[in-house]
């Protein structure tokens, strides 16, 4: 072993004074970086018992498996929930109607959905702006023209855009699900202002959004019983897709990468053995030169 190593490295590795200053510095740097990462990880794993907020439990989402896609039946219902409930206050600015095609609805259906909205277009020949029915390429119209209007209509609280809300909040899908289903009476000592509602999952508990999800709050077109948890689950799964449009593609890519890794592993092992046979089978001989007498 030492002999083959020596042959490859020209005996460099076997010398005792190998560690130069640069290498020692590099080692120090590595140890420091590893230590800091471990510290950050440890801090993140702490109990977090001091904040005044309930931590959402981790639910068993159907899309949690490493190969599991989003459930498109649920996405379709989730769009229904957004359209009939959340869209009264929340925008979905970064989603266009065309994104729904082939995900939740067929092209014809999305065209019909878009045509129900009126969007502003223009200018026309006279320079005036006019309203026309929505088209596939329009983004989904927002309920309020600007933030001030949204605040004025909601007691000063601003309903955030929901497109990336799952990625924007920590433990997104569990947080939003818990938020939607977690309303309860405020405990003693907490006073709420006008237009505030108590929700233990919201920091400080006073949320500007009333409870909007109840059993049978909407009726699903596919006949699924619209219990409160079903409605919340469907809208969260839909928002998960809105935040991660490439979700299914990623899961498919996982299969491809693992499969290709399995195929190339034996090839790489074989290749390594081919390359190393000469090294491993080389015998070094030391023939001392005796002086002729």
């Amino acid at each position: 072993m030492a002999a083959s190593l020596g042959r490859v490295c020209k005996f460099g590795l076997l010398k005792s004074n190998y560690g130069t200053l640069f290498n020692q510095l590099l080692a120090c740097l590595g140890v420091t970086a590893g230590g800091i990462s471990a510290l950050i990880y440890a801090l993140d794993q702490s109990v977090k018992a001091s904040d005044q907020v309930a931590h959402p439990p981790n639910y068993k989402w159907g899309f949690y498996g490493i190969f599991s896609s989003l459930d498109h039946r649920s996405l379709r219902r989730g769009w229904e929930v957004y359209k009939n409930v959340c869209s009264a206050c929340h925008s979905l600015d970064f989603l266009a109607f065309r994104h729904l095609v082939g995900v939740t609805h067929t092209e014809e259906e999305v065209k019909a959905i878009a045509a129900e909205y009126q969007v502003q277009d223009g200018p026309d020949d006279t320079g005036a702006y006019y309203m026309r029915p929505g088209k596939l390429f329009d983004t989904i119209p927002a309920p309020y023209p600007n933030e001030e209007a949204a605040r004025a209509a909601n007691n000063g609280a601003y309903p955030p855009d929901l497109t990336y809300i799952i990625n924007a909040s920590e433990n997104g899908e569990n947080y939003v699900f818990s938020l939607l289903t977690g309303y309860c009476d405020p405990p003693a000592g907490i006073t709420l202002r006008e237009g505030q509602y108590f929700n233990p999952y919201f920091v400080n508990g006073a949320l500007g959004m009333p409870q909007i999800i109840y059993n049978e709050v909407i009726e699903y077109a596919d006949g699924t019983p619209a219990t409160a948890s079903q409605v919340a689950k469907d809208v969260v799964e839909f928002l998960m897709w809105a935040s991660n449009a490439e979700f299914d593609e990623r899961k498919k890519m996982t299969i491809k990468v693992i499969g290709f890794g399995l195929i190339s592993l034996p090839l790489i092992i074989y290749w390594k053995r081919v390359k190393w046979t000469t090294v491993k089978n080389t015998k070094l001989l030391f023939t001392p030169k005796y002086k002729r007498q």
Binding site: S68, S69, L70, R73, G102, T106, D248, K252, K256
Partner: protein, 88 residues
Amino acid sequence: MISRFLYRYIFKRTSSFILSIVVTSVFFERAYDHACEEIFEWINEGRLWTHIKHKYDNLPQTQSYQKRYIEERTSDLEEIPNEDTKED
């Protein structure tokens, strides 16, 4: 025998070697993507859009010939509601 053949016609010249790499990668990639797609759809049976599309997609021009053929010939039959095909 086979190795002699491979050597003479593929590995011996760089040009034929490269050509063989290009040709096999085209076919391999096509087959591999297809296989992975099948596995993905098998794992997520019933959850993907391709699996539920047929419920909403009833346009005559997008239907396959066979489906249209069957539907044209069975449209006058009475439909009996079936509990099993109801969605969950």
